[in-house]
């Protein structure tokens, strides 16, 4: 974990309401793993007060980049910043995706601003772990064509890309999980014993729930990255509770076997089977 004042190398709009910011911070960049995140102080004032969490989109030896959607106070300020300005960045933080070597199919499922960490994952698989792009299948969901994030970037990596939009303006009309179903049905262990697969998902909660249920049905190991409100981002406040399977606090107690995990340290990536959805 490093805390650095980082130079903004680039800050540009890439889709309606979506921006990519590149920051110079070699220490953080070199340590960054897919699924991990940074905490960024959007302003040096007292309002907004808390830092905002963002996943890595990329991280190389010098720079990191994030892809963010403008939704409120903090991201509005970020979007107005110019190249040459500086921001406080803390990271890398959290528990990222695990890199599994046994799998033959890597199924990456993303929606909205859940897509950036999956791009980082796919890049790492190919560039660092030397996996064949042919084994990587990326499922992207968006409301419409113009909000489809990173599609071209994934294609450049040579991976297979499957697209779904709510309005049908590109690819399948409907949910991205419907596309995933076709694939999982053919690679799931219960169905097809000779192939193995791993699912990695990040996006809106309903999507994550559906993906987790699919993974369970077809007995495919699945990791999901969840979004929870955070204050510190490194385990100091316990504000980022995520309900996971746990133990009985007291013998004989009627309370369910669950506990609140610290989302920023134990997560944001969890094994899907650990999570308890409310």
């Amino acid at each position: 974990m490093h805390r650095k004042r980082c130079l903004i190398v680039e800050n540009k709009k890439t889709a309606p309401g979506h921006w990519v910011m590149k920051l110079r911070c070699p220490e953080i960049a070199r340590a960054a793993a897919p699924g991990q995140f940074v905490q960024i102080l959007c302003a040096d004032t007292l309002d907004p007060l808390l830092p905002r969490p963002f996943s890595f989109l990329t991280a190389d030896s010098k720079d990191i980049s994030i892809l963010y959607q403008v939704v409120g106070k903090g991201t509005k300020i970020l979007a107005a910043l110019k190249r040459g300005e500086n921001l406080w960045v803390l990271g890398p933080l959290g528990n990222g995706f695990s890199i599994c070597h046994l799998s033959t199919d890597y199924l990456l499922v993303g929606g909205g601003v859940g897509i950036p960490p999956l791009y980082h994952l796919a890049r790492t698989f190919i560039h660092k772990n030397k996996y064949s792009p042919a084994d990587i299948h990326v499922f992207l969901g968006a409301r419409n064509k113009s909000l489809l994030l990173c599609e071209k970037d994934f294609k450049k990596l040579g991976v297979s890309v499957y697209v779904a939009t709510d309005d049908g303006s590109k690819g399948h009309k409907g949910f991205v999980t419907e596309l995933l179903l076709d694939r999982t049905a053919s690679v799931g262990r219960k169905v097809y014993r000779t192939r193995s697969a791993n699912i990695y998902a990040c996006g809106p909660t309903p999507m994550l729930k559906t993906v987790s249920a699919l993974a369970q049905k077809y007995d495919i190991p699945c990791e999901v990255s969840v979004e929870v409100p955070m204050a510190c981002g490194f385990g100091a406040c316990l504000g980022c509770a995520v309900k996971v399977r746990g133990w009985k606090l007291e013998a004989g107690s009627k309370a369910p076997n669950c506990r609140f995990a610290i989302g920023c340290v134990e997560g944001p990536v969890f094994q899907a089977k650990e999570l308890v959805w409310d």
């Binding site: 974990m1 490093h2 805390r3 102080l41 007292l46 309002d47 907004p48 007060l49 808390l50 830092p51 406080w88 803390l90 929870v228 409100p229 955070m230 204050a231 510190c232 981002g233 490194f234 385990g235 100091a236 406040c237 316990l238 504000g239 980022c240 509770a241 995520v242 309900k243 606090l249 007291e250 309370a255 669950c258 506990r259 609140f260 340290v265």
Partner: protein, 313 residues
């Protein structure tokens, strides 16, 4: 110029007056990569209870203008696991460790402290009489008070019961939601507390207007951060006039100038809370800022600043 930042809280000599506040510093380990923990005046642990607590369901935190609400619900591993898993690390840091404890009743306070008394490696207790996010049981409901810190009689009962059990430095942590904070501090002093900490968070609330629902899972939460600081400073000043025991001041301290306000108002030490979330180095930066201020103002001893308010009262 050699600067002397030493300050005393009960039996405890601190090498400087900058501590970190309960619940805002994990169990310290989270910060080891980013600051030299040995530089701190002391550490107050997350509040520990007799039995483990799961904590409140999400959402637990929400930002508000220049502040935040939290409703963590005292998630903690319980006193046994604290002793087994957290205390050994804290002990090794080599600076004063103050264990924050809480019970749902006087009896429970006594049990937690009783268990800790057989352990070595820490220096005092901070009695959390003022957590806004838990429900209190048996002896707390003898009165209509929502928490111990709301009722001078209850404060006395808890503090004197614990006082009988320990020689260690005993600090009572007060909550701000009272009409006369001075009276609450006086009750703690009379019952044998060595010091009082103030303030805990204000009970507060945020509403999601589209959903017409409270933002926090617990409905209400505790307000902290720079928005509460002027009230916390006023309370420190009021309490300083009422009691002789030392005060640990806190509430929205972000930098050295904020810390100085508390010291000048009468606090013998300060605690850094919410600021740790924005900047995990805040505590040591505040310490450096205090030194710089003392040099600039040619003040050799921090004691000369404590309670140094010039007012025409």
């Amino acid at each position: 110029m050699g600067l002397n930042l030493e300050t005393t809280i009960g039996r405890l000599k601190l090498k400087n007056p900058v501590l970190v506040a309960s619940g805002t510093f994990g169990h310290a380990r989270e910060f080891e990569k980013i600051i030299d923990l040995k530089r701190l005046g002391g550490i107050v642990t997350k509040t520990i209870t007799l039995k483990p607590r799961l904590g409140n369901p999400p959402v637990r935190i929400v930002e508000t203008p220049a502040g935040m609400l939290n409703a963590i619900g005292l998630q903690n591993p319980g006193v046994e696991k604290f002793i087994g898993e957290k205390l050994p690390y804290l002990r090794k840091i080599g600076i004063p460790i103050i264990v924050s404890v809480m019970g749902h009743s006087v009896e429970e306070f006594v049990k937690v402290v009783g268990r800790l008394e057989s352990e070595k490696g820490f220096d005092g207790y901070e009695l959390n009489l003022s957590c806004p996010n838990v429900r209190y049981g048996a002896s707390a409901t003898k009165t209509s008070a929502r928490m111990f810190a709301h009722d001078a009689v209850m404060i006395k009962e808890v503090v004197s019961a614990v006082r009988k059990m320990t020689q260690k430095t005993l600090i009572a942590k007060l909550g701000p939601d009272v009409s006369d904070i001075g009276a609450m501090a006086l009750a703690a002093e009379e019952a044998g507390a060595d010091a009082v900490s103030l303030i805990n968070t204000f009970v507060a609330m945020a509403i999601d207007v589209e959903k017409r629902r409270p933002v926090l899972g617990n409905i209400t939460g505790g307000l902290s951060g720079p928005c509460v600081r002027p009230i916390a400073v006023r309370m420190t000043w009021e309490v300083h006039k009422r009691v002789k025991i030392p005060l640990l001041g806190m509430g929205g301290i972000m930098d050295a100038r904020d810390a100085l306000e508390f010291l000048i108002a009468g606090a013998s030490a300060i605690q850094v809370g919410t600021a740790n979330f924005m900047n995990p180095r805040a505590s040591v930066e505040i310490l450096e800022g205090l030194r710089a201020f003392m040099k600039k103002e040619k003040i050799g001893r921090i004691q000369n600043l404590i309670g140094s308010l010039n007012s025409d009262e």
